[in-house]
């Protein structure tokens, strides 16, 4: 690792101020950032830990929505259960030790194309709340490792509408256990949303053909034989684009069937 300064503020306001320094970077759970630093692939001048900020912690379930503080760990979301599909997803990220450190805000801000949480945020139609504004998930994810966040902007919470039915199915990349393909299906007041992670060269996306088919008939059978085109799918040593396209179809059908 390159040397950096370290700050651990206790309020969002202090964190934002600390992040105004040139090349300062926020540190949440660090489960992706620290390995990146070890490889010397990033050289922040300062790391601003968000781990000491009480207002980023916690889960509140309030009528139609669940709001999760950005600093809430995967383990805490897994244990919550307000949205069972979301908790199940969180409970299957990485491994127990990773889940005790990794946070929902960190995962969404990083927007790894194979991470699980982006598909939940997009699939449930979540709203990402920052220190400055609110961003709907459809606008938030902007390609690999790219989001709508501005420099120095911090996610403070994520607000999920409660679905009528939802499920996440993940087919794991055998080495990293990230999603080779993960599909989050949610049926809500505004219809059906299908969000796919791990598969596309452009990061998490909504599979609109499947949403249309499921909108009129929410059953796995409605997707018989369907798979998105292989064009634009990731092809690597773990699977070809065609294989990933197939998996999107399979995992979507399984998610619909499990969502009930």
């Amino acid at each position: 690792m390159y040397a950096f300064d370290f700050e651990r503020p206790s309020t969002v306001a202090d964190a934002v101020a600390a992040l105004s320094a040139e090349d300062a970077q926020a540190l949440s759970g660090g489960q992706t950032l620290i390995p990146t630093l070890k490889q010397r692939l990033a050289s922040p001048s300062k790391l601003v830990s968000l781990g000491g900020i009480a207002e980023l912690q916690g889960i509140t379930s309030d009528g139609d929505a669940v709001t999760i503080g950005a600093g809430t760990t995967h383990a805490a979301v897994a244990a919550d259960g307000s949205i069972p599909a979301l908790s199940a997803l969180a409970g299957n990220i990485g491994d127990p030790a990773v889940r005790n450190r990794g946070t929902i805000g960190g995962s969404l801000a990083n927007n790894d194309p194979a991470a699980c949480y982006p598909s939940a945020a997009l699939g449930l139609g979540a709203t990402i709340v920052t220190n400055a504004r609110e961003i709907v998930a459809d606008d938030f994810f902007q390609g690999l490792f790219t989001t709508a966040l501005d420099e120095g902007e911090i996610i403070t919470a994520v607000r999920f509408p409660k679905p009528q039915a939802a499920n996440y199915q993940k087919f794991e990349q055998p080495a990293s256990r990230f999603a080779l393909v993960g599909v989050f299906v949610a049926k809500g007041a505004d219809g059906v949303r299908v969000a796919v992670t791990g598969a596309s060269e452009d990061g998490v996306f909504r599979w609109s053909e499947a949403e249309a088919a499921l909108g009129s008939n929410f059953s796995a059978g409605a997707l018989d034989g369907m798979a998105p085109p292989a064009d634009g799918m990731i092809s690597d040593l773990h699977g070809s684009a065609a294989y990933r396209a197939n998996l999107v179809g399979v995992m979507t059908r399984r998610a619909v069937a499990a969502a009930g």
Partner: protein, 160 residues
Amino acid sequence: MATISMVVNGRQMSGEAEGRTLLSSFLRDALGLTGTHVGCDTGQCGACVVHVNGDAVKSCNMLAMEADGAEVATIEGQAAPDGTLNAIQAAFQEYHGLQCGFCTPGMVMSAAALLKEIPKPSEAEIRKYLSGNLCRCTGYHNIVRAIMAASGQDVAVAAE
């Protein structure tokens, strides 16, 4: 450099750390607790698992300063002061759940976290819980048996 302190295995300890000092390095180099091992640099292998404020974490994936003021438990604090192995350690020896011993500290610490969360885990729950702890020697067979035994369960495997 700054001085940070933490309660490690019940003892107040302090040492010097930079911002970039990992908790694993702090334990090994500053505090001389070399039982915590580092087997990878991507957070996969789990040889470095310790407990921070009661939760299992990968100490090579956490900055030491993030643990400033915390309660930390490592492999060195698992046996009784007179050296008597705890139930998990004793089961690992009884069921030959270790060979080269390098992954063992992390395995024992993960197993301890598991049994706190699920006192009598099934075979599948044990295997799933250990997905962040790599062992290259045992094929996991005797590790799983040891954890079943440590949780007071019948270690029913056809082939002994």
